[in-house]
Amino acid sequence: MELDLGTLADLFARSFSLWWVIIPGIALGLAVGVLPGFSPQNTLIILLPVTLAMDIEAALAFMIALYCANHLSGGIPAILVNIPGSGGAAATTIDGYQMTKNGQAQQALVLSFVASVVGGLITSVAVLAILPWLAQLGLILRSVEMVVIILFGLTLIAVLAAKDMLKGLIGGAFGLMLGAIGTDQVYSTPRATFGFLELYDGLPLVPVLIGLFAVSECLVMLEEKFSPKAIPSKAQRPQWADTLDGLRMSLKYWWQIVWTGFLGLVIGVIPGAGAYIASFVAYQQSRLFSKTPEKYGTGFPPGVIAPESANNGVTSGTLVPTMAIGIPGGSTAAVMLIVLQYQGITVGPRLFQDNPNVAYGVFVMMTVAYILMIPLILPLARYASKVVTVPVHIIVPLILGLTVVGAFADREYIFDMALALVFGVIGYIAVKTNYHVTSILIGVLLGPIFERYLLRALRIGQGDIMVLFSSPIANVLWGLLVISVVYPLWRERRLARAAAP
């Protein structure tokens, strides 16, 4: 599994020569990622006949470019119109949209792009160096440890609820209850499905995401008159100076990009752990270690950087168990696995002996895709930020029409479009009564995964709850979790005491 410099240089040269498939892959990934409901795996499945017809290297380069660009572009609507393009970009709305409201849409987009590209780039390079060791992580971290990792994400509910803890926790608990809809993990008996077969697989995430964010935001926009008059004049005249300002901010917070990217990588390596777990955990941890946690939620640059960098760190992490042990780290990786198997390539430990060019080539292609993305996306920030200047009477019907259409695309049920509308009304009421919609979403997203791992752990421990404290790694994680919950409370109390006369 050793990789010498000569082979590496050769892999880079071959990957750069595949620019003709990487650039269309990036363009398609960017376009598809902006629309909620159009996931990279669905796009890759639709394009399967095309990729199967290509030679293996070109097919992999195309799929990887599309996948990485898709993870990047989910942050664009999250920042501009408070509508995450994917679950992984949901945490970006918290500070990203606030920056747009503060007249810093272009800077927020640049922050998101730089964090995504650099986060993805450094983690894919790191994977090349430490792949053999990293691959073991997917085997070491099991359901017991996953329970604690997901709890890290769930603690963000309490963080978001800082202004009104009670309402935030009610919103989060409501989300967790909604996440329990569908058949149970052990016996597959339906729970709270209202008799709809469409809910047997659980609450579909895309319509919930679209409803809570897009539809509710449209209903709020009518009231707030978020028209050009309401937007600071600076946002109406996008300038290169704002792009440079965003780059300056990115440089200032370079360390945030690095460590949250690696956090995303580690979470991505764990099979089944998705980008949304990584982005929520990264946001929560970034706020925890910040000297100014009170600035989060007000349009603070690290609040955009952390989830976006982690979201893209996941892209390389997801492919580690796929290539090294043959277990797809996510649904997109599973589609890539199909293409590899069709081409007669067996993934797993032997891949590094039998086909090192493919095994390491995947991560080199990812690095090259991120490098080629830089000149393509930075100018995009200037022009994409113009979206906020579109008048309300045009943007609201457009968002409603396109996102509700997006709600259909994922599972192809009209039921999902209706569900998006229902959640839109719930989201609107939540916004107007100060129940944080992100708290509800975190519950819906992480609830089913938490239940799955918790039940798995309990079954391993034959129902004994102490199984959750049976592994040294889990115990260390429990310790860190307690610290991450207690420390902010202790710090706030200390600050309040210091501020008191």
Binding site: T43, F174, I414, L421
Partner: protein, 168 residues
């Protein structure tokens, strides 16, 4: 503290989400009562926690109402004109979903966009027609023809498929 003449702040709207949450949780409990513990343990624990949180909220609001600081009147803060447009928009989306299986994605989306912009006060005809024609055509060309997503088809999609020789 509020003076005797000061209007009481309406807080009834703060109970809408808790009411939905409690209602849903009760329904959940009803559906899982016969199931094995593994199938309901997670939901029951969270549900009980939710009941506890809502009870605390009720006490908090009850104290404010008892002190005369708040009333249980419900308002979402919008003026009647905006609420009327908002309800119209929700009605329009419901009509969009009802018409979709009959008219197909392209025509329904075009009608929805035109009506939506009109409802929100758009009166510039070139913009109204341009947006409501170009957007559905873009959706049809990219998502239905290009990506092959199986959106509901209607007269337009069928006519174009026949004209251009596109498969189903």
């Amino acid at each position: 503290m509020d003076g005797p003449g000061k209007a009481r702040k309406p807080v009834g709207q703060e109970l809408i989400i808790p009411a939905l949450a409690v209602g849903f949780t009760l329904y959940y409990f009803w559906t899982v009562q016969e199931l094995a513990w593994e199938a309901k343990a997670n939901g029951v624990v969270i549900g009980l926690l939710l009941f506890g949180l809502v009870a605390i909220l009720l006490v908090r609001l009850g104290v404010r109402v008892a002190r005369g600081e708040a009333s249980l009147r419900v308002t979402l803060g919008g003026d009647w004109e905006t609420d009327r447009v908002r309800l119209g928009l929700i009605g329009l989306m419901v009509a969009f979903l009802v018409a979709l299986p009959f008219l197909g994605t392209t025509i329904t989306l075009a009608l929805m966009l035109f009506a939506g912009m009109w409802l929100l006060g758009g009166r510039h005809w070139p913009t109204l027609i341009g947006v409501s024609v170009i957007t559905p055509l873009f959706v049809w060309a990219t998502l239905i023809v290009g990506l092959g997503t199986r959106f509901p088809v209607g007269p337009f999609e069928q006519a174009m498929a026949a004209l251009l020789g596109l498969g189903d």
